[in-house]
Symmetry: C2
Subunit: 397 residues, 2 copies
DNA sequence: GACTTTCGTTCGAGTCTCGTACTTAATGAT
DNA sequence: ATCATTAAGTACGAGACTCGAACGAAAGTC
């Protein structure tokens, strides 16, 4: 059992202090954009001299670069400062996703720019060798000899333990244990962390997508199953074993609906892809997203489909009401097959949510659609790989 | 809107480093008990010399004391060390609870010992002057001139904003805004933080009660309403506005049950005190706890009551299944009127929970009864007041 | 061209942690 | 009894870091 003693328990040396302040500068540059040293001092509260030293070290490590002074700048009074920005020249992070019908990869640089992003369909579920091949290809393509790969992350649809390594249960891809982490580590030669796909996607939306800068966000993904990722105070809520966010089998919606898990009344059985298709008498095509796009097309012509989607939206809203009561997020992002369905699901979900808000003082969380699409999980995995840098746990040198 | 930039954003000086390491030593003493300087060095990873300096400073501030060498110690080889322990001599924290039918107070010293604990019934709901009087009395009684009051906390049944000051909505006590915080601050002359009562109780259980040392715990309180407190990684999950844990009005259980809030199907309408009493045809006596004790007595004689409580337990389990899916706690603590009802509710709740666990890999969270009773919230408020000390945010001097 | 304003750096002072060496206090062997 | 051994706690100097003040540099303004 995890105890509170684990947490926050490392001794701090002066070197640690340096890392801490360095990460403060890095975060400031990442979140608030380029700035002169003087501006950075104001932003961070550090002394001008300290910022100077830190920036010099970062510059030497090729983590930041001085920008050309923009001629269009407002003519200020004194000596103009030279803006410093994060540099994408050296440090990269890599994110992978191993899913049922595809594998994908994203490479991110320190500035947050996506350097490479690709998906490939796979024939069988849980094709680890395809993932490793994709990883190797991405490494050769985007990283090469000129860059340093800081770390990598792998997103999987399944339960991953709190060690960010061990897959406890992932029936859809049929991979368990630490073998996946080991295989990818071997292929890339850098530290690898495995995470749940919804958690990764949530992290991605909170850093790049529809919920940028939001500290308390909830991400709901719809594929065949339903999964959630929870961001509280900017950090993922993982739970005791690392299994938080497994919302697909909560008893919500139609209590008679049979679920693939063998029980009745699971949320997934009301709003999962198969449930939606059953409602409108449609069969699945290649991917959930393609299927949903087709469905959205039909909704333009058939009022019955609109009604069916409204019912789905209602169940979505009911579940979100539950989650909002528990977690009080500022923004809820819907991903997966919900994106093509758009307002047809969102609007009734909002209505159901409004009807279910606990207190007058409580504000309905904003419902948004994912902007990252299928790349969300891989992107989030990459961003998570950088998180240790921005947290000051690891040094750029 | 809160953004991620708020978090973790203070610059670190060498002085801050010192505070950080000092808090590391304090936490080690609090969680793992007294230890010699050498043992502390091993526990924390700090150098022996550093621990010596830190302990000397803490001793000078009367925050720790050297213990008499226990004669019964195993005869070790070299020079025996002198154990150092947290001292209760100087620093105290005070916790208050303002509730519908009572106010209560708890005073805690640095060692975690409860120095004073008292409850008083009040005539009208939200009797702020009674709370202030109790606070003054406790200050005179337990703090006096000999001690330093580090900080205080107030627990209230209602929605408190993330600033830990502003009450946004608390219909049961009819107090809103910052007036309560100001009144208590004025009476005590130390910083005051206001929090939700369930959050405080959860914090108390995680530090003193049924979930000591558990990093991921969920607390469920039953009074007239139902509320939850969420502990993740040892810290309270507050949500965007600070309203996380408002689980009473989630749509769970009997979907036709009418709730006091005007809607149907709220969890509270199935497992709240009034719902339970209605099931067995009983009326409320003075307090929820007394009522539940009476009810437990009836259950010894009347099988129908046992059945009714089993139904309640089932609904409790259903809701906990939901919460466990979302949050994955290691331990769930039930408080309030659930305590007297004990296994009569717990056992069916466990059964319902087992039937609803999402994945085979998922372990059912342990269900326990609160051990702190009515004092939980006040105790948690006091403990929270100390949290800034143990986090290294504030110095003992 | 002198003045003002602001940026970035230099430098010395002050803190803090750390490793080493040293002193102290106990046990166990001779 | 005496001395080696073992381990705890302390003293001290080295090294790292941040900070404020002072200073030089690079603009615009009068």
């Amino acid at each position: 059992m995890t105890t509170t003693a684990d947490r926050a328990g490392r001794p701090g040396s002066t070197e640690g202090l340096r890392r801490q302040n360095t990460s403060l500068v890095l975060r400031s540059l990442r979140q608030l954009g380029p700035a002169t040293r003087a501006e950075l001092a104001k932003r961070t509260g550090l002394a001008k001299a300290t910022v100077g030293v830190i920036v010099a070290a970062l510059e030497a490590a090729d983590a930041v670069t001085e920008l050309e002074r923009t001629g269009s700048a407002v003519a200020a009074r004194g000596r103009p400062g030279v803006p410093v920005a994060l540099s994408g020249r050296r440090f990269l992070a890599l994110g992978l996703e191993l899913n049922v019908d595809y594998v994908s990869v994203a490479v991110l640089d320190l500035t947050g720019t996506v350097r490479l992003s690709a998906s490939r369909p796979v024939t069988g579920p849980g094709d680890v060798s395809a993932l490793v091949a994709l990883a190797r290809w991405a490494r050769a393509e985007a990283v090469g000899e000129a860059h340093d790969l800081v770390a990598a992350g792998v997103a999987v649809p399944g339960l991953v333990r709190g060690d960010n390594r061990t897959i406890a249960w992932a029936p859809n891809i049929g991979v368990t244990g630490e073998s996946l982490a080991a295989a990818v580590e071997d292929a890339l030669g850098c530290p690898v962390r495995v995470s749940n796909d919804a958690n990764c996607a949530a992290y991605a939306e909170a850093h790049h997508g529809a919920a940028v800068g939001v500290a308390h966000a909830l991400y709901l993904t719809g594929t065949v199953g339903i999964g959630a990722g929870i961001v509280d105070r900017g950090e993922l809520v993982r739970g005791g074993a690392g299994f938080a966010g497994e919302v697909g089998h909560m008893p919500i919606g139609d209590s008679t609906a049979r679920c693939g898990c063998g029980r009745q009344g699971c949320w997934e059985a009301s709003i999962g892809l198969h449930a939606v298709l059953a409602r409108v008498g449609m069969t699945e095509v290649e991917t959930p997203l393609a299927t949903a796009a087709l469905l959205a097309g039909r909704a333009d012509r058939e009022p019955a489909v609109v009604d069916a989607l409204a019912e789905v939206g209602h169940s979505v809203g009911l579940g979100l009401a539950m989650l909002a009561s528990v977690l009080d997020p500022e923004v809820v992002v819907l991903g997966g097959f919900f994106v093509p369905l758009g307002e047809r699901v969102l609007a009734p979900a909002r209505a159901a949510l409004d009807a279910r808000l606990a207190a007058p003082a409580q504000v309905r969380p904003e419902l948004r659609l994912s902007t990252l699409g299928i790349q969300a999980a891989a992107l989030g995995a990459a961003e998570q790989a950088f998180s240790r840098v921005f947290a000051g746990d690891v040094e750029l040198a």
